[in-house]
């Protein structure tokens, strides 16, 4: 009895949201709370903002866009349940989400089996390689972040580095990719430390790195409060080496949190962080400035790279639905694959049936923090 | 032939000698009572004998075997069973289950058989239940069999605990104040029950404040005061012993339990 009535109650709750005529149901599974809320929160805000924007302009192909989103709390099992719910119960036409790689990999098979186009917002290269015909992603891969950092190191004549990485999915995956790709750039990783997602002091790890012979620079892979603490500890210990952060340090909030310690820190970032520094004729200038203004105006918090991923995913999906002229899964999928030369806040996307991300290294700009603000290194 | 011999037994709690240099012997079918004022160390002695506490000094022999500081469940396997002064009934189990649980040593079954509910396991449970019902009848609790123990009266719980201890088919039974809190009729019943058990050849070690009961049924009495044995002998000798009388009169707080 209990079992049935509980389910019946939730059934009623969901029935209220059943499909009406002439609407496009867009699903989202995001880690709005939990250890990855740093990613999911701006992603959800961006999607909500953009859906309103599109509907205010008359929707897509004259149909209203309805966003149905669930918070997976960063847990793959819950995400999988919500993915099933989106497909089976909410009958969405397309899905954006998967804030983390773990969640993305857990939900992707659901969308693949139901032939629903899915754009992930997570970084790891495994999402698109091997290629899944229904799965796309808008963020750079963490491997590209490593390559970008290594390129800059090489340009500075540095080749021997220490790494300190977060133990979450983001840090772990990027650490592996960096180790994997280091050889190609003649970089040697001589010290390799990690820290937990909730750690509040990384001086022991940094002391060890600084004491390692031959370390010429330090690279920190991670997101959330970790990189801010690493940066502060780095300054506290007076380590006189170049410090590189990753693209996980993705908003002005980092500079606020790290304070003076952030001076001189370099990281591969997107145009979004340096909207005001972009030349007027920069292809990304318009889109970046518009998104940044809209987001910061509405939510009164600094825009982040992660919200930018959602921004690009939304527009790529919206345009694909528009050009497909319907929400037929295969047609939308083909339209996404046909996205070429589209400029988003993250970079210029050139999708193809073989490339489900469509970004190249040029999307990353090497940034340095100078006088409490960003500057672009060329 | 003695069943249990206790020699020079002692235990300290934080420097206080709770029991010291206590020795006595129990023969099969004999009823030995341990008496003494409150705090004399009677229950502590029981806890040592049943393996709950490890003694600091002395030894305990059972059937000529040294069983000092042996774990309670192993002592139980050697035929020692007990009740508790402050009641340790399984309150969330039925009266019947309490007595059935007392048959633990007799009904070893494999866990696998129990999980699968194999016929052997279920047959064993039925047999145990039959025996347990018999024991409940013996303590006049047959009608409470299916009731949860927590709903029974104090006197009933006392008797239930005796039934549970008997279920283990002990050769030596330690009874810690079996008649406490019982009315005259109930006390008489317990009196008869103890005598009956002893008549079957079970040795009984009894702690009891009801002196009428003690004097009536004991074969032998050991008197403790401040953890030490101050006297030992037949009931008639003990009731005349000046040290015993002094020990009891010295503790007026005993009130109702004065030596009669």
């Amino acid at each position: 009895m209990r079992l049935k009535s509980t389910l019946a109650v939730s059934a009623l709750a969901m029935m209220a949201a059943n499909p009406a005529a002439a609407e496009i149901r867009l699903g989202a599974v995001l880690s709005v709370t939990g250890p990855a809320s740093f990613l999911g929160d701006p992603e959800l805000k961006t999607l909500e903002m953009l859906v309103e924007e599109v509907n205010a302009q008359g929707g897509i192909n004259g149909e209203e866009v309805v966003l149905i989103h669930y918070d997976d709390g960063g847990d793959a099992n819950r995400a999988r349940t919500f993915a099933t719910r989106l497909v089976e119960d909410d009958e969405v036409a397309a899905v954006i989400g998967g804030s983390t790689t773990g969640v993305t990999m857990a939900v992707a098979p659901v969308f693949e089996a139901n032939e629903i186009p899915f754009i992930s917002l997570a970084g790891a290269v495994v999402i698109i390689n091997p290629l899944n015909p229904w799965v796309f992603k808008t963020p750079h891969t963490d491997r590209m972040a490593c390559e970008s950092i290594f390129t800059d190191l090489t340009a500075r004549g540095l080749s021997s580095i220490g790494m300190i990485s977060g133990q979450g999915g983001f840090g772990t995956s990027m650490r592996e990719q960096c180790i994997d790709v280091a050889g190609e750039y003649g970089i040697e990783i001589v010290a390799d430390e990690t820290y937990g997602p909730r750690d509040s002091d990384m001086t022991p790890q940094l002391t060890s790195i600084a004491a390692t012979d031959g370390v010429e620079a330090v690279v920190n892979a991670g997101f959330g409060q970790g990189p801010a603490i690493v940066t502060r500890n780095f300054a506290q210990l007076g380590i006189d080496l170049p410090l590189y952060q990753s693209h996980g340090v993705a908003s002005d909030a980092f500079i606020e949190l790290a304070g003076d310690a952030a001076e001189g820190v370099r990281l591969p970032g997107t145009a979004l962080l340096v909207a005001d520094l972009l030349a007027e004729d920069d292809p990304q200038h318009a889109v970046v400035t518009a998104y940044r203004a809209a987001y910061e105006d509405r939510f009164e918090e600094p825009v982040s790279t992660f919200g930018g991923y959602a921004h690009d995913a939304f527009w790529i999906m919206a345009q694909a639905i528009e050009s497909a002229g319907s929400t037929d899964g295969a047609a939308v999928r083909d339209a996404i694959e046909a996205t070429t030369g589209w400029v988003g806040v993250t970079g210029e996307f050139n999708m193809s049936p073989d490339d489900h991300m469509g970004l190249d290294l040029s999307a990353f700009r090497m940034l340095e923090i100078v006088d409490g603000g960003w500057s672009i290194i060329d | 032939m003695t069943l249990m011999t206790v020699e020079g037994l002692g235990i300290d709690f934080g420097g206080v000698r709770a029991v010291d240099a206590v020795g006595f012997a129990v023969k099969p079918g004999e009823i030995v009572s341990v008496i003494g004022p409150n705090g004399a160390g009677k229950t502590t002695l029981f806890n040592i004998l049943s393996g709950v506490y490890r003694p600091d000094r002395g030894r305990v022999m059972l059937d000529g075997m040294d069983v000092t500081a042996m774990a309670p469940h192993r002592l139980a396997a050697l035929g020692l069973s007990r009740t508790f002064q402050n009641l340790q009934v399984y309150l969330q189990m039925t009266a019947l289950e309490n007595v059935m649980a007392g048959r633990h040593l007799a009904e070893r079954c494999s866990v696998i058989a129990d999980l699968l509910g194999l016929p052997a396991s279920r047959r064993r449970t039925r047999e145990t239940a039959d025996i347990a019902r018999g024991l409940l009848a013996r303590v006049h609790l047959e009608r409470a069999a299916e009731r949860e123990a927590s709903s029974l009266s104090y006197g009933a719980l006392k008797r239930l605990e005796i039934a549970r201890a008997l279920a283990a088919q002990p050769r030596l039974l330690l009874l810690d104040e079996p008649a406490a809190g019982c009315n005259a009729v109930e006390t008489e019943e317990i009196d008869a029950l103890i005598a009956e058990i002893a008549a079957e050849g079970v040795a009984i070690l009894l702690v009891e404040h009801d002196m009428k009961l003690v004097m009536k049924i004991s074969n032998h009495i050991v008197v403790l005061d401040h953890g030490e044995k101050i006297a030992e002998g037949a009931p008639a000798e003990i009731s005349q012993n000046p040290r015993v009388i002094e020990a009891y009169l010295g503790t007026q707080a005993e009130g109702g339990h004065a030596l009669c």
């Binding site: 019946a8 979450g168 | 002592l75």
Partner: protein
């Protein structure tokens, strides 16, 4: 004919499992059902440990982690069929429980709680850190158990979610059957007696260390199987399956439903699995409400939902 509580419980469960799909509007509900059964299985294990033997564990997700990663790794590296990996994982978990149980179960109360918690966290850390083997925090894919293929071969015409629902329903019934058998068996009586009074049980010959260990091992096997089945159901696994929160979730299910009974376990699993799905309509108030509901239930029905409701019903009858 008078049926035993054991038979009644099984009949009630079977009827609920069989009839619930009538109310299911979509395949999603079959997944929720399957998840309820997975959680229910683990919580029944905890009922044996906690409700029967009175021993708390805040680390049983550790065993789920071992089960889940056995199902993921053994087919990949040893070429074992997932079904065999599931049993191998259970043996592994049971064996590990046997080894660590002896020292851990000497502890009592909160000390036992922190020791089991520590064990669970250690498993999580290993799964999280040994990325070469486990894929690290991003997790790894799990081979298909092949249930759908079996169903299709039998011509049942069921969708994947439905196949899992019925399969897990059967597994849950089996788990309940075993736990109920145990309850009224000699072993079950010994477990419950040491729960009620450890000292009395000892003086009646119960080797409490051995029996606590028995309950610990059995519950570890239940948790391990639940972990394996969840991994196989999802086709994917992350270290979260072994996380502290997962352990806490199961304990909360057990206590919320009524820790001492199998039916309470399933009830608790149902509530805490379905409730978050219903609460999603409240958006950002979801967590606030979940916390509030858990508090209110425990304040007003401290014995857990099922026993408290049962008592109310019985009182209603007698008036």
């Amino acid at each position: 004919m008078r049926l035993s509580p054991r038979t009644w419980t099984l009949i009630i469960l079977a009827v609920l499992i069989a009839l619930a799909p009538v109310t299911f509007p979509s395949a999603f509900y079959f997944r929720i059902g399957a998840l309820i059964f997975v959680n229910g299985l683990a919580v029944i294990g905890l009922v044996i440990l906690f409700g029967y033997a009175g021993q708390i564990s805040l680390g049983h997700a550790g065993f789920a982690g071992i089960g889940a990663y056995s199902a993921a790794l053994m087919p990949m590296h040893l070429g074992l069929h997932p079904a065999l990996a599931l049993f191998a994982g259970a043996v592994l978990s049971g064996g590990l429980a046997f080894l660590i149980g002896r020292p851990i179960l000497r502890l009592k109360g909160h000390y036992l709680a922190v020791a089991t918690l520590g064990f669970g966290i250690l498993v999580f850390i290993v799964l999280n850190n040994e990325a070469q083997l486990t894929g690290g925090p991003d997790g790894m894919a799990v081979e298909d158990l092949g249930l759908r293929a079996v169903s299709d071969a039998l011509g049942l015409g069921l969708r994947t979610a439905e196949v899992w629902y019925w399969f897990m329903g059967l597994v849950l019934l089996l788990g309940a059957f075993l736990a109920l058998n145990l309850h009224t068996s000699p072993t079950g009586r010994s477990l419950r007696s040491l729960h009620n009074s450890e000292v009395a049980a000892r003086t009646l010959g119960v080797d409490v260390v051995r029996y606590k260990l028995t309950a610990f091992v059995i519950s570890a096997v239940y948790a391990s199987l639940a972990g394996s089945l969840q991994a196989l159901l999802n086709g994917f696994v992350t270290p979260d399956v072994a996380g502290f929160l997962h352990s806490i979730e199961w304990v909360t299910m057990a206590v919320l439903g009524g820790a001492a009974t199998v039916l309470g376990a399933v009830f608790g699993a149902t509530i805490l699995t379905a409730l978050p799905q219903a609460l999603t309509v409240f958006q950002e108030y979801e967590h606030l409400l979940l916390g509030l509901i858990i508090m209110l239930v425990m304040i007003f029905l401290p014995a857990g939902l099922l026993p408290s409701l049962g008592k109310t019903l019985r009182q209603g009858e007698s008036i």
